[in-house]
């Protein structure tokens, strides 16, 4: 493995006392001195700023761009309008997941894809292999920096820096060529925390000035930095899937409960369609459920879940939830057993701890 890369914000994290780790080949802060729990509360109650420059960006252009995306995405891109964003898994023909991505539509011939850092190279290869007709693909990941501004104060903070009226921007919508503190940016109302918030993309050369402007504007609104640790807890509280945990080559989007992002009856054939249709008909032995611990104990990835000594699945992500003050987990479990019983046990080291099935998401913000 080569040396991890530094994002344009590396020095900012160091100056703020961020504890830096290697994450998917990037040096990123896992937490700041106030601690993960505070970072979670800050995000839910005020606002936090995250460096998400590790995310990959891919431009898809050409006359056949839309038809091409219809083939590689499981969601139905024909429903997507200009300046709107769609979430979609990308599947292999067997229904396993290549990645889960965001699709930004600039026009019917111009799309901007945001992919997971760890999957960027694999995705780009896959996109190229499946390309046809008039489609031009560009991996822009190394050119873009990205800030996520998350939490209820986000709009007020960002509004200080731009002429566009953010109140008019709906969730999962964006504008490109926006000036944010004089820096040409893409501004989207998106995030991975379950809160309101924005993600701002700019080219690397404007990144430092963008961060400073957002940071400065945020000071009167209690803006604080947050790291990867808080990001993972926040997304888990909001029950958002994370590739490698709830989605993988071995797990389909249907198993992960992402049915509303799987357009099985899309007019055109897409990668994974047959396999997913078949799986929907035949069912599967493991499906994603939410768990809440009834005894104190931290459910963590890969811990077995049991009913009457019978193993019925595994934890895919688990944590202490600062927002709910509970121990929660997402787990792939046998749906037939779950129909019979809501009470299960999680094997933590050598001991079983009681837990119960609860409805996802664990946390939903008040609108």
């Amino acid at each position: 493995m080569s040396e991890p890369k530094k994002t344009p914000f590396y020095e900012k994290h160091a100056a703020l006392g961020g504890k830096i780790v290697d994450y998917s080949g990037w040096f990123l802060p896992v937490q700041f001195p106030q601690g993960l729990v505070e970072e979670v509360h800050d995000t839910r109650k005020r606002a936090t700023i995250f460096d998400v420059s590790h995310m990959g960006e891919v431009a898809v252009e050409g006359k056949d761009a839309e038809a091409y995306l219809q083939k590689i995405l499981v969601n139905d891109i024909s429903r997507l309008k200009d300046n709107a964003i769609m979430y979609s898994p990308v599947c292999y023909p067997d229904g396993g997941v290549v990645d889960d991505i965001l699709i930004y539509r600039l026009s019917s011939e111009n799309f901007f894809l945001v992919v997971n850092a760890a999957n960027t190279d694999k995705d780009f290869d896959w996109f190229q292999e499946n390309s046809f007709g008039d489609v031009r693909l560009q991996n822009l990941s190394s050119e873009y920096a990205q800030i996520a501004l998350q939490g209820p104060n986000s709009e007020a903070i960002l509004q200080d820096l731009t002429e566009i009226k953010l109140a008019d921007m709906k969730f999962y919508h964006f504008l490109s060529d926006v000036s944010v503190a004089g820096i040409n940016s893409i501004v989207s109302r998106t995030g991975y925390t379950g809160e309101d918030g924005f993600e701002v993309y700019c080219k690397n050369d404007g990144a430092s000035a963008l961060w400073e402007a957002v940071w400065e504007a945020g000071q009167k609104m209690n803006l604080r930095p947050a790291g990867l640790g808080a990001r993972d807890v926040l997304r888990l509280e909001a029950s958002l899937p994370l590739y490698g945990h709830e989605l993988s080559k071995e797990l389909t989007p249907l198993q992960a409960g992402l049915n509303r992002f799987v357009a099985l009856d899309k007019a055109v054939a897409f990668n994974g369609q047959e396999a997913l249709k078949k799986q929907k008909q035949e069912g599967f032995s493991r499906k994603l459920f939410g768990l809440e611990m009834l005894e104190r104990g931290v459910p963590r990835e890969n811990y077995p879940v049991k009913v009457d000594e019978q193993e019925i699945g595994w934890i895919s992500s688990g944590t202490y939830s600062p927002t709910l003050d509970k121990f929660i987990a997402m787990a792939f479990l046998d749906p037939e057993t779950v129909k019979q019983t809501q009470e299960v046990s999680v094997l933590i080291r050598k001991r079983s701890y009681r837990a119960r099935i609860i409805k996802l998401p664990f946390y939903r913000r008040e609108q």
Partner: protein, 133 residues
């Protein structure tokens, strides 16, 4: 990072402390280690009467992101555990050398305790470890 290293206890290289009280040693996690671990949310205690072995895991301490073993500083038999930690594991963060003690062990071999680090040695050890990171 700020942390306290106190007198009157002995320290291990895995950042446990042991305070002798007669033939019993009170065992806990150092302030430095609890600081590094972050907000502690769960503690798994040994059973009373369990035989623990120096350098082997005797308890488990978990923060939101990490699982850490608490190794026994000496060989012996567990005589008491801090059950308050089951409901208030954050006591380890708040008062690592006091209310946040983890278990007590009957000392088998006094020389094991004597071989552990005192305050100045542990302070030096932390500085060295920090540099290596």
């Amino acid at each position: 990072m700020e942390y306290k290293v106190v007198d009157g206890v002995k320290y291990t290289q895995q950042h446990e402390w042991a305070r002798p009280e007669g033939n019993i040693a009170v065992v806990g996690l150092s302030d430095y280690a609890q600081n590094k671990l972050g907000e502690i949310v769960f503690v798994e205690l040994p059973d009373i009467g369990a035989a623990v072995e120096a350098g082997k895991s005797a308890a488990v301490i978990e923060s939101v992101k990490a699982v850490a073993d608490l190794y026994a500083p000496v060989d012996g038999t567990v005589t008491e555990v801090n059950e308050t930690l089951l409901d208030q594991p954050e006591l380890i963060n708040q008062d690592p050398y006091g209310e946040g003690w983890v278990f007590k062990v009957e000392i088998k071999d006094e020389s094991q305790l004597a071989s552990l680090m005192d305050k100045p040695a542990y302070e030096e050890f932390i500085i060295k470890e920090e540099k290596e990171e």
